[in-house]
């Protein structure tokens, strides 16, 4: 760890475009992820923020945590607002009204604002090919309103609207595969990330910014409040989500899957789940089922990545 403190400040800007002093909960993985992302993004950006945790804890009139231009309008329309801004700048640059400053358009939203209520607007904006980066800070439920399930809530998790009970085991559906939906839009860049792997996250954000056209990054953001884990375990829980294969880190460039980090052996999911209250009710049999499915999904993903690698090699050899 000592080495980190020597070279990290040299690699990463100390400038905080996302200022401290906001009102996120203790141990908020999302606040950390936003901070890291905006270190990578820099200042030449316009931010469009959906209603949600980040919007609320970074803005309260007359204060703001944003040192970059920032707009919030509604919950479900973030990608549409972003398309308007992108188009406006494009038109005004072409007409000589403003200078071309290569300003980046970055939309940010939670999992509910992205994968549930904002999916249509996002799909539309990706399909139309606007040049923007969309980052979904995925904390796996509607945390801002009090931990209600979303379609990104993992199978079996107890939330306030998918509570575990006598006749319920909690969340009843498998987490919606939003990155795959983004890939299906034929966009140039899709990735998953987690602030527990900060360099990986920042690199992906930079890549997403640089590609021409839409980029989608889904960032697993540990929520101690909603997940019922200790506030000082955010980083560890995030790492375990990756190491168990529950939230694999990968990127899809022009449709080509690539694992960012691969593990020879996945850690058992119980290592991850036992740290969180939302899974505490799950019986061994259920955990076994989840374990099986996690491995299955992980293998599927690896196969996709391997197939892409194989295809790439074939092309090279040809």
């Amino acid at each position: 760890m000592e080495n980190y403190s020597i070279y990290v400040p040299k690699l990463i800007t100390k400038k905080e475009n996302f200022a401290p002093g906001h009102r996120a909960c203790i141990g908020c993985g999302e606040a950390l992820a936003v901070r890291l992302a905006f270190k990578a993004i820099g200042q030449n950006v316009i931010v469009i923020n959906a209603t949600g945790c980040v919007e609320i804890f970074t803005s309260q009139l007359p204060y703001t945590s944003w040192r970059v231009p920032w707009i919030h309008t509604l919950f479900e329309n973030t990608a549409a607002v972003a398309s308007g801004i992108e188009a406006a700048r494009k038109a005004m640059i072409r007409k000589g009204v403003i200078k071309d400053t290569n300003t980046k358009i970055v939309a940010i939203a939670g999992d509910g604002g992205t994968i549930d209520i904002g999916l249509q607007a996002l799909s539309g904006a990706m399909e139309r090919g606007h040049d923007f980066l969309y980052i979904c800070f995925d904390n796996e439920a509607y945390m801002n309103t009090g931990i209600q399930r979303s379609s990104a809530t993992p199978f079996g998790a107890s939330t306030t609207t998918s509570p575990a009970g006598k006749s319920s085991f909690g969340q009843f559906a498998w987490k919606k595969d939003m990155p795959a939906i983004a890939v299906a839009h034929n966009i140039p860049y899709v990735a998953t990330a987690c602030p527990s792997y900060p360099f990986d996250l920042m690199e992906k954000v930079k890549k997403g910014l640089e590609v021409k056209g839409p980029a989608y990054i889904q960032v697993l953001s540990v929520c101690p409040t909603g997940w019922g884990c200790a506030a000082d375990l955010s980083i560890k829980v995030g790492r375990l989500a990756v190491k168990t294969g529950i939230f694999p880190l990968y990127e899809v460039e022009n449709g080509k899957y690539k694992m960012s980090i691969d593990f020879p052996g996945l850690r058992p999911i119980t290592e991850y789940m036992s740290l969180q209250k939302r899974f505490r009710h799950l019986k061994p049999k259920m955990l076994e089922q989840i374990q099986q499915k996690v491995i299955e999904k992980y293998e599927e993903l690896k196969e996709k990545a391997a197939a892409c690698e194989y295809n790439c090699q074939t092309v090279l050899e040809d």
Binding site: I71, H72, T73, A80, I98, A121
Partner: protein, 393 residues
């Protein structure tokens, strides 16, 4: 300085948007708005209008994209109708509260169910309190003129409010009319470049749309209300200037043969032209009472002073609404007018009619019936709070 051409009103409207040199158009197709956006898409495709046309996936996204575009400082236009306007509903409040000068043509259409593509004012009335400036038009000329005025008013830095220009679906949008199309150089003189004071720009970061705790929400809403009320000064000024250049004067409340009229009919939108013909006809054949017509052009901010002035000599005011306020006392426009007159020492009897729903015609003869029946109700009373004109029970 203008050329009179026979042109479909929707096409003329799109040409006005072109003359206004809009930067961004974000729209979703809906009958009867389609001809407007199709023509705009064509103008952009042919390079006749240098703009970004965003073919969004819904009206909610249309208004959202417009908000983004407007916040970035671009001149922004959209058009919708009926269901589309209702799908935008949530975003309408945000556009006005965030002071985003979007111009929108609303091709007035009835609301489902049952589904109807034809015109009435149900869509407008449901968006009455969204904080937008709202202007009604009666013919193609007014549509073109007020579309140009709308950009000028909306973008005026003392206003910075979104504007709806209403035109009736089919009865106005799809007819071919003789319209004086203004010359570009006069439009350029009338309509300066959009100078949005605080656009989203990394050179000067702003935060827009922060959340407001109870300690400040009321003040923000009051500021918004005062701003909308005050916008009337600019609206009047712009109409005045428009008249100076183009020779056509618009007013918040327009009077037709009202000087000696004791009986007034009040209408909004394209049916006003039919009503005018009725007034002429009744006067020409020597109807026993002097009848006149008021046309409400400015719906928001509501021109209560002008309205009170216009009705001060009248005995009877008959209001035709083209929308229902379900479970309410009268049609929505009539209720508002009654409220505006309630505290006046001298005021006419106000009679409420609702009709022309879902595109049903109201003919010259129908208006005559409304007027005579209205007079009868005013003098002899009625068991009903309002009359549903021409309905089959």
């Amino acid at each position: 300085m203008s050329q009179r051409v026979g042109i479909e009103v929707s096409i003329a409207l799109a040409e006005a948007v072109k003359m206004a040199n809009a930067d961004v158009i974000a729209a979703y197709p809906i009958t009867p708005q389609t001809h407007i956006v199709e023509h705009l898409a064509e103008l952009v495709a042919d390079g006749e209008l240098d703009a970004e046309y965003i073919p969004v996936e819904s009206e909610h996204s249309a208004m959202s994209a417009c908000m983004g575009s407007s916040a970035a400082g671009a001149r922004t236009f959209t058009a919708t109708a009926g269901q589309g306007l209702e799908l935008m509903h949530e975003a309408l409040f945000v556009a006005s509260a965030m002071r985003l000068p979007v111009v929108m043509s609303v091709v007035n259409r009835a609301l489902s169910a049952p589904i109807s593509v034809w015109g009435d004012h149900s869509d407008v009335m449901a968006c009455r309190d969204t904080g937008w400036i709202q202007i009604f038009t009666e013919n193609g000329q007014e549509v073109v003129d007020n579309t140009l005025c709308a950009f000028r008013i909306a973008e005026d830095n003392s206003v910075l409010l979104p504007i709806m220009v209403h035109l009736d679906g089919f009865h106005l949008s799809h007819v071919i009319e003789p319209i004086l199309m203004p010359e570009q150089r006069y439009v350029d003189a009338f309509l300066p470049l959009n100078k949005y004071p605080l656009p989203l720009d990394p050179a000067k970061p702003v935060a827009m749309g922060d959340f407001a705790p109870p300690s400040i929400y009321t003040e923000m809403k009051w500021a918004q209300e005062k701003n909308l009320q005050k916008s009337k000064d600019t609206i009047l000024k712009v109409w005045e200037e428009f008249n100076g250049i183009f020779g056509r004067q618009y007013k918040p409340v327009e009077s037709y043969r009202c000087d000696d009229a004791k009986i007034l009919l009040l209408t909004m939108g394209s049916y006003s032209e039919t009503a005018m013909t009725t007034i002429d006809k009744m006067r020409n054949k020597g109807y026993k009472e002097n009848v006149g017509l008021l046309r409400l052009r400015l719906w928001r901010p509501f021109p209560h002073d002008e309205l009170r002035e216009a009705i001060k000599n009248a005995d009877v005011l008959i209001v035709l609404d083209r929308a229902l306020s379900f479970g309410g006392l009268n049609g929505p426009v009539c209720m508002e007018i009654k409220a505006a007159l309630y505290n006046e020492a001298i005021r006419p009897k106000v009679v409420s009619f609702v009709g022309g729903l879902g595109g049903r015609d109201i003919t010259v003869a129908d208006f005559e019936e409304i007027i005579t029946r209205g007079i009868d109700i005013a003098r002899n009373g009625s068991e009903q709070e309002f009359e549903m004109f021409g309905v089959r029970e």
